[in-house]
C-alpha cells in the first residue's frame, strides 16, 4: 500500500497540515490514542470475539433454556437475567453477535464492492456512462432506505443473509457517490495526468494511482455503514424479516423482550444498549479514519 501512495506522501511534504503524529512509530501512536477511540476499538474487538468464539464468554446455551429458571432478574448466576423460556440473556446476546456481525459484514461488503466499482467507473470514465450511473444512484437515494430494503426483501425472501444483502444494496448508492467524487478529485491531480501522459492504460492508472488515493474516505464510510447496517439489520429483525425466532439475533431479542416489558424490562433494554454501543463505536472509528483522509 505505502509504495503506491507516493503521490499522496509527496503532497504531504508540500502542504504539512499538523499530521506529524503519523511519522512516529505505532507504539507512540497507540499511547496518543484518545480514550474514546480506544474504548471503541476494544468494544468492537470484544463483539468480534463474541461472534468468533461465543462459548469462551458464557457457559449457557444461546438457544436452549433451563427449565424452571424463567424470567429471573439479573443476578450473579445470570448477569442479565433470563427470558420467558429460561434462556440466559447474556448468552443470547453473545451468541447473537455472530448473526448481527455477519449480516453487517455482508451488507458493508455488498455496498463497498458494488458501490465503489460503480463510482470508480463513473468518475474515471465520465461522459454518458457517468451520467447514466449517477442518475441510477440518484433514484436509489430517492427511495427511503427502509422501503428499498423492504422491496429487495420481498424479492429475495426473508432470512439473515437476504436481509444483509437488502441492507447492503441500500448502501451501494452512498458508496458510489462518495467514490465518484473522490475519483474525480484525484483524477484532476497532476500525478494522475502524468501517469496517463507516460503511457499508463486506463485500468492500470486506476488501480495504481486513483484507487489507493481515493480509498481512505471510502473506508471511513465503510466503518460508518457498518454501524448503520447493524441498526438496519436489527430493525428488519425486529419487524420479523430476518432469521426465524430461536435465533438470538439482536433485533429479534428486543422484539421478544417486548412481550415481557412490564415484568422484565431488562430483556428489552440490554440488547438495545449493546446495539447502541456498537453503533456508537463504529461511528467513532469512522470519524478517526476520516480525519486521516487527505
Amino acid at each position: 500500500m505505502s509504495s503506491r501512495e507516493t503521490g499522496g506522501t509527496n503532497l504531504d511534504v508540500l502542504e504539512p497540515r499538523g499530521r506529524q503524529v503519523l511519522r512516529f512509530g505505532w507504539a507512540t501512536r497507540l499511547r496518543h490514542l484518545p480514550p474514546g477511540l480506544a474504548a471503541s476499538w476494544c468494544l468492537v474487538l470484544v463483539v468480534m470475539l463474541w461472534a468468533a468464539a461465543p462459548d469462551l464468554f458464557t457457559g449457557y446455551s444461546g438457544t436452549e433454556g433451563v427449565p424452571g429458571e424463567q424470567l429471573r432478574a439479573p443476578s450473579e448466576e445470570h448477569i442479565l437475567g433470563t427470558d420467558g423460556l429460561g434462556r440466559d440473556l447474556y448468552a443470547r446476546i453473545v451468541y447473537g453477535a455472530r448473526y448481527s456481525l455477519t449480516g453487517a459484514f455482508v451488507a458493508v461488503a455488498v455496498g463497498f464492492v458494488f458501490g465503489t466499482l460503480l463510482g470508480l467507473v463513473a468518475g474515471a470514465r465520465g461522459g454518458w456512462l457517468d451520467a447514466a450511473i449517477m442518475r441510477l444512484v440518484d433514484s436509489m437515494l430517492a427511495v427511503p432506505s427502509l422501503l428499498l430494503s423492504l422491496s429487495i426483501i420481498v424479492l429475495l425472501g426473508f432470512g439473515t443473509i437476504n436481509v444483509a444483502i437488502a441492507v447492503g444494496a441500500v448502501a451501494i448508492a452512498r458508496f458510489a457517490r462518495l467514490a465518484r467524487s473522490e475519483v474525480v478529485r484525484v483524477r484532476r491531480s497532476d500525478y494522475v495526468e502524468a501517469a496517463f501522459g507516460s503511457g499508463g492504460t486506463f485500468w492500470a492508472v486506476l488501480r495504481r494511482h486513483v484507487l489507493p488515493n481515493s480509498l481512505t474516505s471510502v473506508i471511513a464510510l465503510a466503518a460508518l455503514q457498518f454501524g448503520s447496517a447493524i441498526l438496519a439489520i436489527s430493525t428488519l429483525g425486529f419487524l420479523g424479516y430476518g432469521a426465524p425466532p430461536p435465533t438470538p439475533e439482536w433485533g429479534l431479542l428486543i422484539a421478544e423482550g417486548r412481550n415481557y416489558l412490564s415484568r422484565a424490562w431488562w430483556l428489552t433494554a440490554a440488547p438495545g444498549v449493546v446495539v447502541v454501543l456498537v453503533v456508537l463505536a463504529a461511528d467513532r472509528i469512522s470519524k478517526s479514519i476520516q480525519r486521516t483522509a487527505p
Binding site: 427502509l146 423492504l150 422491496s151 425486529f238 419487524l239 433485533g251 417486548r258 424490562w265 438495545g272
Partner: protein
C-alpha cells in the same frame, strides 16, 4: 435561470422515471406472478380457465412492454392498481392510511426542529465545559439508537414506570405524544449536528467580531446574527431527512400499533403484495424529489447571496 430551472426539473423527472422503472422491474416482473401464487393454491379450487380469466382481468396476460406502459399511464392518472391480498384499489388504501402518517411525520419533524434548536442553543450557552461537550455529543448518541427500541423504552419509562402517558385507551393527543418523541429524537440528530457545525462556522465570521466589538452579548449575537445564517444551510438536508422521517414513521407505527402507511407497508411485505409496495415506493420517491427540488429552487430566494454572481465571498 430558466435554463437552470428546466435542467433541474428535467433531472428530477429522469430520476422519477428511473425509480418507477426499477420499481416496476423489481416488484412486478422479477417476483413472478403474484396472482398465480395466490390463486394457484389447491384450496382455492379454481380451474385453469378461471385462473386465466382472473389473470386477464388484472391484465397480467399481456406482454411486458404493454403492461409497463399501461402501468405508467395508470400511475399518471392516480390509479395504482389493485391490492392483490385485500382486493381493493391501492389508491383507496393510500387515502385511508396516508393522513395519519403525514400527521405523525409532520409533528415529528416539527418536534425535531424544536429539539434541534434547543440542543444547539444550550450546547453553545451552557456554562460548564463538560456540559457543552456532553450536549455536543448527544446527536451522535441519538443517531445510534434504534428507533423501535427507543419507542419501546419510552413506553416502558413514561407509561409503565412513571405512569405519565396512559397506554390503555389514550386520548387523541395523548396517543401521539410518545410516537412523536420517538420519531423526533433520531431526526433531530443529523439536524443538530449540522446546525452546531454551522453555528461554529458563523461565529468565526467577521460580522460576528464586529457585533461583539460593539458590545453585543453572546446571546444577542446568537439570536440576532448567527441564528439566521446558521439555520438556513440546515434547510438543505430537509429533503434528505424526508426518507428518514418516512422510515421512522413506518417503524414507529409498528411499535405503537398505529394505523398508517407503516402498517400498510408492513402488511404488504408480509403478503408479498407488490402493487401496494410499488405505489408506496414511487410516491415516496416523488415526495423526495419534489422536496429536494423545492429546497434547491427556494434556496437562492432565501439566501440572496447565492442568486447574485458578483456577491461577496466568504
Amino acid at each position: 435561470m430558466t435554463r437552470y430551472l428546466l435542467g433541474r426539473i428535467g433531472q428530477a423527472v429522469v430520476v422519477l422515471a428511473v425509480t418507477f422503472t426499477a420499481a416496476f422491474l423489481l416488484l412486478q416482473v422479477l417476483p413472478g406472478d403474484a396472482i398465480m401464487i395466490k390463486f394457484m393454491s389447491p384450496e382455492m379450487g379454481l380451474s385453469a380457465d378461471q385462473i386465466a380469466e382472473i389473470r386477464a382481468s388484472y391484465g397480467v396476460d399481456r406482454p411486458l412492454w404493454e403492461q409497463y406502459f399501461r402501468t405508467v399511464g395508470n400511475f399518471l392518472v392516480g390509479n395504482f392498481g389493485y391490492s392483490i391480498q385485500a382486493g381493493v384499489p391501492v389508491s383507496h388504501q393510500l387515502a385511508v392510511n396516508l393522513p395519519p402518517t403525514l400527521l405523525l411525520a409532520s409533528l415529528g419533524f416539527l418536534a425535531a426542529i424544536v429539539l434541534t434548536v434547543i440542543l444547539a442553543t444550550l450546547s453553545n450557552l451552557a456554562g460548564m465545559k463538560w456540559l457543552r461537550a456532553a450536549l455536543q455529543s448527544l446527536p451522535s448518541l441519538f443517531i445510534s439508537v434504534p428507533v423501535f427500541w427507543l419507542g419501546i423504552m419510552l413506553i416502558q419509562i413514561f407509561s409503565f414506570q412513571l405512569g405519565l402517558v396512559s397506554v390503555i385507551s389514550p386520548g387523541p393527543v395523548e396517543r401521539l405524544i410518545l410516537p412523536v418523541a420517538t420519531l423526533a429524537i433520531p431526526i433531530s440528530a443529523p439536524l443538530s449536528q449540522i446546525l452546531m457545525r454551522n453555528i461554529d462556522e458563523v461565529l468565526t465570521q467577521p460580522f460576528v467580531a464586529v457585533a461583539r466589538a460593539k458590545g453585543a452579548s453572546h446571546i444577542w449575537v446568537l439570536a440576532r446574527h448567527v441564528a439566521r445564517n446558521a439555520l438556513l444551510p440546515t434547510l438543505t438536508i430537509a429533503g434528505v431527512l424526508f426518507g428518514e422521517l418516512l422510515a421512522g414513521a413506518v417503524v414507529t407505527e409498528a411499535v405503537y400499533g398505529l394505523n398508517g402507511l407503516g402498517g400498510l407497508t408492513y402488511q404488504a411485505v408480509g403478503n408479498h403484495d407488490t402493487a401496494v409496495l410499488q405505489a408506496i415506493v414511487v410516491i415516496s420517491a416523488l415526495a423526495f424529489v419534489t422536496i429536494n427540488l423545492i429546497v434547491d429552487l427556494l434556496y437562492p430566494v432565501l439566501d440572496p447571496r447565492l442568486g447574485s454572481k458578483l456577491g461577496a465571498t466568504t
